[in-house]
Every structure is written in C-alpha cells, then in structure tokens.
C-alpha cells in the first residue's frame, strides 16, 4: 500500500514550513516507505541519539538541518555525547574530535532539544506515559519505553529521531502498531535459585541470552519475580537490545502489556518456547567475558551502562560498605545529571568519591577516551558494556555482579562468587 500523506505533511514536504522541515519530512517519508507504512502518525516526544559524534556524516547532517532553520515541534531529550561537560578533564582524546563533538552538541541544542545528555531518559522526571507515541533512538531507551512504560516507539536509529522531532511525525508502522507488539518467542526460567532471581546480576545476563536467541522476534520472559524493579528491567532490555534486534519485550506479570502469558502473546500460540536453566545462564554470563586469564591485577571497573539509577547507586554503596578501592584500579560510574543531583543531595556522591569512585556524566566510558590504558582486564556489571567495550576500546572485559565488582576493586584482583549461579 502506498504511503498516504495529510495536507499538512505534504505542505511540509513541499517546503512551506522551511527547508529543514522539508528535508526532515523527506527522510521520514522515505523511512515510512521502506517500512511499508500506510500513513504517518503524530508523536508527543523524541529522544535524540544523533548528538553522539561518530564522524563527519553526523555533523554534515546536523549542519544541513541547522542551516535550514530546524526547530523541534515536540519535546526532545538528548542522548549521551562524547564529552563530559561537568568533568571535561576526563577526556583524553584529540582536540579536533572534541571540537567536532562540541559543535554537534551545540547544533542539537540550537534546534531546541533539551541538553539532558543521558542514555536513560526514562530516569528523568518527565517520561512518556502508557500508549503515547514517541520517536526514541538509543537501543536501551527504546526497549524501556515500549516494554516498561508502555509508550510506543519503533526501533529508531540516528537521523530519523531528529527528523521526527522536527516534523512531529513518524511512520505508522512497526512497534507503533498493536499487531507488532505481540510476543513471539517465550523464554521460561527453570530451576534458577531464589538468590539469583532477586539479584541485580540476573537481568543483564538473561537479557544478553534472550537477545541472542530472539534476534528480531519479540521475546516474552516468564518466571521473573513480580516485584522485579525498574532498574533490572532496564538492564535486561539494554542487554537484549545489544545482542539482538530487540525493541520491546514482555515480562509476564510485570510489564504493562503482559498481565498474563496469553496477553503477552496477544492470544496467539508462541512460535517457540525456550527453557532457560542455570547452565544456560552460566554460559551466557561467561560469554560476556572476553578473557579467562584473570591472574593479573584488575585494571579498571566501569558501571552504569545504561546510566546508573539512584537504586543502583544504593546497591553500590552497600557493596562497597565504605571501603576504599585499590589505588591501582580506576573505578568509574556513568550516570545522568539528574541522578547525580539526587545522590549528591543524599550525601552518597561524597561518600563514593571517598571510596575512590569517579562519577562520569553526559557520556559513557565505552564511547570516548576516559579510561587509562588497561593492559590486563576491566570489570563491569553491565552486559551492554561487556558487549561493546572490547571492540570499542580494545580491552579485555570480565562480567561480574556489582558485589563482585566492588570486592574486586578493593582487592585489586578478581573476586567472584559463583554460588548463586549454581543449579537449585
């Protein structure tokens, strides 16, 4: 079916609301054609990933929009960039990249986007409500918006995010539509110990496994505790979106469109049901680490991918229990400015800094040179960081729970507790 445009869409495409809006509408309609959408729909917000500098193409695109007078028509938040504007001394990269990154950030601010600089916009005070259509980019944020908030965004990439924000329109296709939000493949937790079911470390490992096996099929997870908190759903979604093409998941009895397994599947039978055992989880956990040689000293720890939530900082405080990390270990936590503000009010920031924790805002340690060279291995509690950091930074990574990361950082060498991963 060909794409039908409203009169307002056509006027925008014809340049009646400016050159930038015409360019943005051209991109939106071309993507809509590629998705075989019948029409466009109106969105109420956007999250923009295009502000992360990755080369000249991103800058050329933003400059073209800005030169055409681009302004967003809906509230738009900005994703992480390459620079920590609150802690600029952390940047170890070259001056040209820094200048290009800064220009890109300024261009998007100039278009009216909010300088939130976070990959976890759902941790800001205002967030999309159930059923609202938005255009979000940033793979982990997309999954959270769809799965946990029940808002509706397709799995958008760079460029279309800002083009939708400028036009206020998005393709009526993909995860915007009921028919594409039904679960297709069921993952059932079997024989997992209670300690692991109620531990933060399960979610990233499970997500990694689910994304890998689901690919582009919409996964349903059955067997998580009903009280599973948001930060675990975040970690699960972020991991699944790294290893798969996952833009949404259902967790039975937890996420809003999955009160029951039947509801999650939209009344259809599952195409496939996969049992997840402790052995599967151990294999997925070990697959997140790139090295088996952990005899050397630990080089660094990085937490907060996606940006740490207040609850996760709370867990880190418990895990460190006032201890100071080894002087040979760099210990980073990535977070957003809002969360940093909250933990500083609680006195946690000062406490963590006394323990030797360096907080990073606006960016993330795996997309920009902040860490010193790690010659042995780095540790993380994030499946997403474990997935991407080896390629991006050229380092070996070992995955562990936040408790393992804290204990290892204090000891200066790997400390890993295996008990909760055992068979029941």
């Amino acid at each position: 079916m060909p794409l039908t445009l409203t009169e307002a869409d056509q006027a925008m495409l014809a340049g009646e609301t400016g050159d930038a809006a015409a360019m943005a509408m051209r991109v939106v309609t071309r993507v809509a054609d590629a998705m075989e959408a019948a029409e466009l729909l109106s969105i109420e917000g956007a999250h923009i990933d295009s502000c992360l500098y990755l080369g000249q193409a991103g800058l050329d695109f933003a400059r073209a929009l800005a030169a055409g007078g681009a302004q967003v028509r809906v509230p738009a938040t900005l994703n992480v960039s390459s620079l920590d504007l609150l802690h600029p001394d952390l940047f170890r990269g070259d001056a040209t990249t820094a200048a290009d990154s800064r220009e890109l950030m300024a261009l998007y601010e100039g278009m009216g986007c909010r300088p939130t600089w976070t990959c976890a916009p759902y941790q800001l005070e205002e967030r999309p409500s159930f059923g609202q259509h938005v255009a979000w980019a940033e793979s982990n944020a997309i999954v959270f918006a769809n799965s946990v908030l029940g808002a509706r965004t397709h799995r958008y990439g760079d460029f279309i995010d800002i083009c939708s924000a400028i036009t206020g329109r998005a393709p009526a296709a993909g995860l915007h539509l009921d028919a594409n939000r039904r679960g297709e493949i069921v993952f059932r937790l079997v024989g997992v110990r209670d300690e692991l079911l109620h531990h933060d470390a399960l979610a990233p490992v499970l997500g990694s496994l689910v994304g890998h096996r689901a690919g582009a099929r919409l996964p349903v997870i059955d067997g998580l505790p009903p009280e599973t908190p948001e930060h675990r759903l975040k970690a699960l979604g972020a991991a699944a979106a790294s290893t798969g093409a996952v833009g949404m998941f259902h967790a039975v009895g937890i996420t809003p469109e999955a009160p029951t397994l039947d509801a999650a599947l939209g009344g259809r039978a599952a195409a496939m049901t996969v049992d997840i055992t402790p052995a599967d989880l151990r294999a997925a956990r070990d697959g997140l680490s790139t090295t088996v040689d952990t005899s050397g000293a630990l080089g660094a720890v990085s937490l907060g991918t996606p940006h740490y939530a207040v609850a996760e900082f709370g867990r880190l405080r418990e895990a460190l229990a006032g201890r100071v990390v080894s002087p040979d270990v760099e210990f980073f936590v990535n977070t957003g400015r809002d969360v940093l503000h909250e933990i500083s009010l609680r006195g946690w920031q000062a406490e963590l800094e006394q323990s030797g924790v360096q907080i990073v805002t606006d960016t993330c340690t795996y997309i920009t040179p902040i860490m010193a060279d790690v010659h042995t291995y780095a540790m993380t509690d994030s499946a997403k960081w474990a997935h991407y950091a080896p390629g991006n930074l050229g380092i070996d990574v070992v995955f562990g729970s936040v408790d393992d990361c804290a204990d290892s950082a204090v000891a200066g060498r790997l400390v890993f507790r295996d008990e909760m991963w055992a068979d029941r």
Partner: protein, 142 residues
C-alpha cells in the same frame, strides 16, 4: 530437493539500487556501531564469529539487524568514506540501517541498497560466491 531460483526475487526492496560484489554471509547479525570500524570496514566486535572480516564492497548478508541506534550514522559515514558494503541482504527488516542508507543518499548521493529476501532462498544466497543486485531488487547469484 528444491532448486533455488536464480535470480532470487526480493520479499521487499527497502532501499533500491544497483550493486555487485563478493557475498559475505555473516553467521550472526552485526551491530554496525560497536561492531564495525567505519575507517576500514572491518568487524571489530570481539564477540562476533567473523571479527576481522572486511565488509567493504561486499554484498553483506545477515538474517536481521542487531544492536545500536548509532548504526545509522556508522552506515552513512561508511558510505561517505567509501568503506560501506555494496549492498545489504537480509530476511528481517532493520530500519536503523535503512535510515543510514537513506541519509547517505540525501547527503552524498550514495545510498547502500538494502533488500529483504524470503527465508527459503537464504541458504542459496549464503552459499553463493558473488551476487549482482538490480534496481527491481532481483539478486543474481554465481
């Protein structure tokens, strides 16, 4: 035994274009951001079975997309630098890659053609040595 058609007709033409190149069939999907170096077209994802392979100029075959939203920018940047695949052949649509290709066309007149093919024809495509894509999305295999 069924004989695969040659040329393979597309399920959907996502981004139209003509291309020809050696077939590089990926054993697993690849996130272009965090998975590819835009500078030289090499797979940098340490978890990927084909880490080190070069996608530049190939007809890149993978079942579906994976991972990052930033893949749009990486594909556009690769098109700008001349390190992009000649074409991308998939079973499941990936709008993140489609957007990168469309914007590479807008900015530089260098779209990377993308077609979706039927599941049944996938084995024949992955087994081919070279593939030639025409504007109508037909894929001739040798």
């Amino acid at each position: 035994m069924t004989v695969a058609p040659n040329p393979v007709l597309p399920q959907r033409v996502v981004v139209a274009g003509e291309a020809s190149g050696a077939v590089l069939a990926l054993d697993e999907p690849l996130s272009f951001w965090g998975g590819l170096s835009a500078e030289d077209g090499r797979v940098i994802d340490e978890h990927h079975p084909q880490v080190g392979a070069c996608v530049t100029g190939t007809v890149l075959v993978m079942r579906s997309g994976r991972g990052s939203s930033s893949a749009s920018t990486v594909l556009a940047e690769m098109a700008r630098l001349g390190t992009a695949p000649a074409a991308i052949v998939m079973i499941d649509a990936d709008e993140i890659l489609a957007t990168g290709s469309i914007v590479a066309d807008e900015l530089y007149g260098r779209a990377v053609p993308i077609v979706l093919v039927p599941e049944a024809d996938y084995p024949a495509i992955t087994a081919a040595t070279t593939a030639t894509l025409t504007l109508d999305g037909a894929l001739t295999l040798t």
